[in-house]
Amino acid sequence: MATATHPDTSQPTGFIRRNRQKLAPWLFLAPGLLFFLFYVIAPIFQSFQISFYQWDGLGAKEWVGMQNYQELVTDRAFEVSLWNNLKWLLMYLLAIPAGLGIALFLNQTVTGIRLYKSLFFFPFVISQVVVGLVFTWFYDPTFGLLNTILESVGLSPINVLGDPKLATYGIIAAGLWPQIAYCMILYLTGLNAVDPEQIEAARLDGAKGLRMLWHVVLPQLAPATFIAFVVTIIGALRSFDLISIMTNGGPFGSTRVLSFYMFEKALSEYGFRMGYGAAISVVLFLIMLFFIAYFLWSMWRQEKGR
């Protein structure tokens, strides 16, 4: 082999060539980063700022300091929203065991199981708007499937979405439907990755059924559980579509959550309080920050662990 093809480096090279390793990442980052800073990061801080103003979104802003927050403390609707958010958080977590249950049920290799799995996953793909509509009809007090069933077994009909005690749970149930499907998929893939030799080892060790699940399988599904937890929490805190479609916050505001309430306050038919809305969203953000921090922290640990 005769000719060497290395570039001649004896001649002086330009700044860019010498520093391309340092410059390159920034050039690649620039478009995405700018976009993101502009549309996501900056607005977060703007929201903080707006929350100190009184503003109807039309005219001039008026500085009111902490007044919006002070009002939040006494605002019953805010309190209701906060409690509902808590309900969402807790109830939504049911999606995790339920998803696991279905995943275990479906984790077989009989013919056609693939189709079953994808059909079970169906609700997740559908827009929450449609899910909301579907469940509204499902709950409909006059002809809804739910009451038809209740009547057929001799129970008295209930108006789920009209009852302030039940409405939130009714919406959560609708939200759980796709969320369970989501968790199910996470667990199905998680189960796929479970080390079969460990299962066999445990089988030799005499672990069976639930004990096997608890002692051997679940620990291995920890990553899936973690992801399911994160997405479920986020889903719960972001819930908006369903409430807006199914009850529009009612009856008399009993199904509001923070994300809906802030929209109502800031942009809905009678809402002209951008500052107040921003204050609500800041509270929501701070709650979420808790989970974001937890997530980043565990990601950071993983990164270090590499």
Binding site: F105, V125, I126, F240, L296, M299, W300, E303
Partner: protein, 282 residues
């Protein structure tokens, strides 16, 4: 494999499992099946109170015909495509680059920038609502598909970056080193080496983002109005306003609105699930 494969248990257990599957599925999808059933019922069934019986006649053509020819649904569908497709392209393109930068290069602020993307992705987007709406108004993009697309791209970039970066991280780093030793310029490494390898990730992400954006309702309501720019999720609500209590039409409309992501899911199932579990966040 856990639980124990059913084919290793008794014949009776196998049969009852096989029997249980469709029943469970029916129960699970009952609300949807009801809607599908609604959508092919003639309207007389609703006035006569035949909600849950079999359709007295097949009214599918009529109902879907109404949806397609006597409402704004086709326009909304078109809008959805015009919003979703550019968003998918934009977000994927941007995040390929950010993912590459964050996944390949070592520099001081790398992890911090990455975390910023991740954190931004998890933010409750309501906190962005007021400023973003304002911003869009100021730029004269309110009630344009462009305004919606730009925001979606920016917001999805957070998630996509998380996804792409982790994917690129999992690629063998030697490939990049090999190319560097061979004297290949950085952008060419990106274009010729990394990008082709990211095809599965791009596919997965594309389907995922497609469904996310297609199903978005909140931002559609905040940033657009009216049939000239709203996507189908918002369209379905005004469609419903138009055909209030006409359940057969509303069902047909809902099904039409839900169909594209469902079709996407079935066509690209493998990618879709890969996307969910790799990026694993919405």
């Amino acid at each position: 494999m856990f639980p124990k494969p059913i084919e290793k248990s008794s014949r009776a257990a196998q049969l009852s499992y096989q029997g249980l599957l469709p029943i469970a599925l029916l129960m699970w999808l009952a609300p949807l099946i009801a809607v599908a059933l609604f959508s092919i019922k003639p309207d007389t069934d609703f006035t006569t109170g035949n909600y849950w019986g079999l359709p007295s006649a097949f009214g599918g053509f009529e109902n879907y015909g109404k949806v397609f020819f006597q409402s704004d649904m086709p326009r909304y569908l078109m809008n959805s495509f015009l919003i979703t497709v550019p968003t998918v392209i934009g977000a994927v393109a941007l995040s390929c680059m950010t993912g590459f930068a964050l996944g390949i290069y070592k520099f001081k602020s790398n992890l911090w920038i990455f975390f910023m993307f991740v954190a931004g992705n998890f933010v409750p987007f309501q906190i962005l609502m007021v400023p973003v709406r304002d911003l869009t108004l100021d730029m004269g993009l309110y009630n344009t598909k462009t305004g919606l697309v730009l925001f979606h791209i920016a917001f999805q970039t957070g998630f996509c970056t998380l996804f792409m970066r982790n994917f690129i991280r999992a690629l063998p780093y030697e490939l990049i080193e090999a190319a560097r030793v061979e004297g290949v310029a950085e952008w060419r490494i990106f274009w010729f080496v990394v990008l082709p390898l990211m095809k599965p990730a791009i596919a997965a992400l594309s389907v995922l983002i497609f469904t996310f954006i297609w199903n978005d309702y909140f931002w559609a309501v905040v940033l657009t109005q009216g049939a000239e720019s709203q996507p189908v999720t918002a369209g379905i609500t005004s469609f419903n306003a138009q055909y209030r209590a006409a359940y057969h039409l509303m069902s047909a409309g809902s099904i039409v609105a839900a169909l594209p992501p469902v079709a996407m899911f079935f066509l690209m199932q493998r990618h879709f699930i890969a996307g969910l579990t790799l990026g694993a966040v919405k």
